[in-house]
Symmetry: C2
Subunit: 450 residues, 2 copies
């Protein structure tokens, strides 16, 4: 048995790539990923058409996908996050079929339960051996956790590891093992790890965002959840990252340590681990190179598969054990893991400025719903905090802590006094995207831009 | 969701145990295991009958199983290894249905491919958290690798972790994660780790065995496989363990390091790792407490699931990458992983004295075939070495190295000159055991003792 192929083309032919197939990709190399583009370029040269991409995220670096859609090589796209030129083009009607958006946990569950079928998974492997054992922590394009790739490797009919760093058997540590890999394609370069750091992972210096972060940390403290052994997740957005700074003095004051921090992991979370504020990090993707170094070296920084992180499955996943989730409200490229963690966490906070670019953050109807309001506990802005009506207990606790609690309509009025009432957004009639909630139901539609 | 149950009974009821089911156990606590007995005692009290046990091995400690068979609680047994009073009783006809013997890799493949269905898997967990994340390396009954339990956890309908060491969420490191566990039963004691060490794991001082081991090491060297990056596995038998001692000077002389040692791991293999003779140990079960300490502390001592170790699956497993296998010929309790590793290894040696208890080791027809001769390359005895006829190249190499090569019939004649020709073994007509080869075919039958 020789799994090792000396070119991507050879591996794609061995894997039996044919027109009409569904092929999958993971996005841990983020905006530095070369593999998705390489595979599609090669597929185009092979004369393949009508592929559906099951890609965990699409970044600006994937702009060549536009050409492959125009030429009919790709006709379907299912993802958790879509940004950059591809997002822009699809908003304007590039793709005939609507893009299907899923959450990270919803995607893993859909694959595990067979609602999504993958013919061939391509796994960008920063390090691999000739039998297909692979990890993300070593090699020139080390990206850390490979959390989103596990479901693809386990359930796809055929699995191709694509690596630029081939090591002798047996590789160690192993993230995905040889029993799940059919072919190993040796290529020159799978990506540029500098592209892992996205704009969304730098801590803000904006005083409005810092005030919001301060409020959010105090809401967590006032909620009663900041106890010994609690846990939290902060997203990659600037304001939600800043929350980690404000948590430190509050945790120190109370003498509490968190059992775990989770999610996409940043240097800010690594610092909390290293300084003893958190006992463990459960890492489904690394958002910067400090996180990559940490997951390689710190045994308390642990890679977890997406299904363990966030999948809505019978046996539950880590989100169901999460105390506090803080994430930024704002237009990004998809839910990522947000709707999963919001559903699981005991306290879900959205942090956002009262208005952005003269548009109020509170509107009568969100432009696109990816996380249902019923799974959110409070909105934290620089002017005040609105608590979901079902959380009267939380509202009382915040008032006792003298935090500025408002009815959400009052926050909306404060904003519109400055911004005016915005025009209703205009859009065409054609549906370009379907938003699937983690349970598989469609909770919103995205229309072509006018 | 509350997976945690405060008694084994509660967990068994929650798991829906009913008469007629197949339940599974792993044997990493070996002769110190309490879990199999506890579950069957409780099942008996619940009035359950007609269970089939899918147990990776049965040891003397499991003697109470005899009573449960007599009373009809258990009516079927499938295993990889059967020793002690249960083996004795079954040889004499205790069980109506024949016992099905599989190799470790064959068992994992049969479970993965659905030929064996497990209703409820009971996983003895030396450490677990309330969500069911578990490992074998911490807690009072630490047994090290949980290699044989992975397939059970992944494919059983319902999975119960049984632990005496419950730690806060999230446990780390994790061998089997929360997404595979339905219930966690907290009990007082899952077993006595002193029972892990079996008689078969101590290095021999017998001069005959040492001479055999010396020959075996020299056969490995003469075969040409002892090159930089080679690999080997020695079983738990005394003579095959002694081989590791004789390998050291030969490896030092050649300046070679092995990429990996594999299998059930003993202190002797750990020493080779620690002294730099081997780069990594791939460990499917720990045969002694030194191995348990090593797998907990040494990042180059790695737990592998049985399916990665030895399963005959399309994508291959580690046995297919093995250079040399040395194992003892002799009556033990089943193939364990032997027929898997023999099929995979480039060089398979059987080490055995020319006769044991005045019975010759070479006979016209083996009493029970678990490993086909076509997968064995040579028999190494204290008087000489017989090479399989298909390995003329190996025979030439051994002659060039001035090793004492004989036709196997000459070895047989040497033995019978001392022992006389033994009587043909007598047995009854009733079949008490079926030996399934790793591909699922039945390669031998075991008859009731006369």
């Amino acid at each position: 048995m020789n799994k090792l192929k000396n070119s991507l083309r050879e591996a794609m032919e061995a894997a039996g790539l044919r027109s009409g197939m569904t092929i999958s990709f993971h996005h841990h190399l983020r905006n530095g990923d070369h593999v998705l583009n390489m595979v599609l370029d090669e597929a185009a040269r092979m004369g393949i058409r009508d592929l559906t991409l099951q890609a965990s995220s699409i970044f600006p670096v994937h702009a060549p996908l536009i050409g492959h859609i125009q030429s009919g090589v790709v006709t379907g796209l299912e993802t958790c996050y879509l940004s950059g030129p591809v997002a822009e083009a699809i908003s304007h009607g590039l793709l005939q079929k609507p893009v299907v958006f899923r959450s990270h946990g919803g995607r893993a569950a859909a694959i595990a339960e067979g609602r999504v079928h993958i013919d061939i998974a391509f796994i960008a492997a920063p390090s691999a051996d000739p039998a297909g054992n692979l990890n993300g922590v070593s090699g020139p394009a080390a990206c850390g956790s490979l959390g989103y790739a596990f479901a693809d490797a386990r359930y796809a009919d055929t699995v191709v590891a694509v690596t630029d760093s081939l090591v002798p058997y047996p590789l160690s540590p192993v993230s995905i093992d040889e029993t799940q890999i059919d072919y190993v394609a040796k290529v020159d370069c799978i990506g540029d790890p500098r592209g892992i750091v996205s704009g969304t992972t730098s801590v803000t210096r904006d005083p409005v965002a810092l005030r919001i972060a301060d409020y959010a940390a105090r809401v967590m403290a006032a909620s009663g959840l900041m106890r010994e052994g609690f846990s939290f997740q902060t997203g990659a957005g600037g304001a939600s990252l800043a929350v980690t700074e404000y948590l430190k003095p509050l945790m120190r004051e109370r003498g509490v340590t968190a059992d775990f921090g989770m999610g996409g992991i940043t240097g800010a979370m690594v610092e909390l681990l290293e300084k003893g504020f958190i006992r463990q990090l459960l890492d489904v993707q690394c958002f910067d190179l400090r996180a990559v170094a940490s997951i390689r070296e710190n045994p308390n920084h642990i890679e977890i598969p997406a299904i363990r992180y966030a999948a809505p499955i019978r046996r539950g996943s880590a989100v169901d054990r999460l105390s506090c989730l803080v994430s930024s409200g704002g237009i990004i490229g998809g839910s990522g893991g947000h709707s999963d963690t919001a559903a699981g966490a005991a306290l879900t906070l959205i942090v956002a400025p009262l208005f952005r670019a003269r548009l109020p953050i509170v509107v009568d109807r969100a432009g696109c719903i990816s996380t249902p309001g019923s799974t959110v506990d409070a909105l934290v802005t620089q002017r005040g905090i609105a608590v979901h009506p079902r959380r009267g207990d939380l509202r009382e606790a915040l008032l006792r802590a003298r935090l500025p609690v408002y009815d959400i309509h009052d926050l909306q009025a404060m904003a519109t006094r400055v911004t005016g009432v915005p025009d209703a957004p205009r859009h065409g009639d054609r549906i370009v995207g379907l938003v699937e909630y983690r349970d598989g139901s469609v909770i919103d539609r995205i229309y072509q831009q006018a």
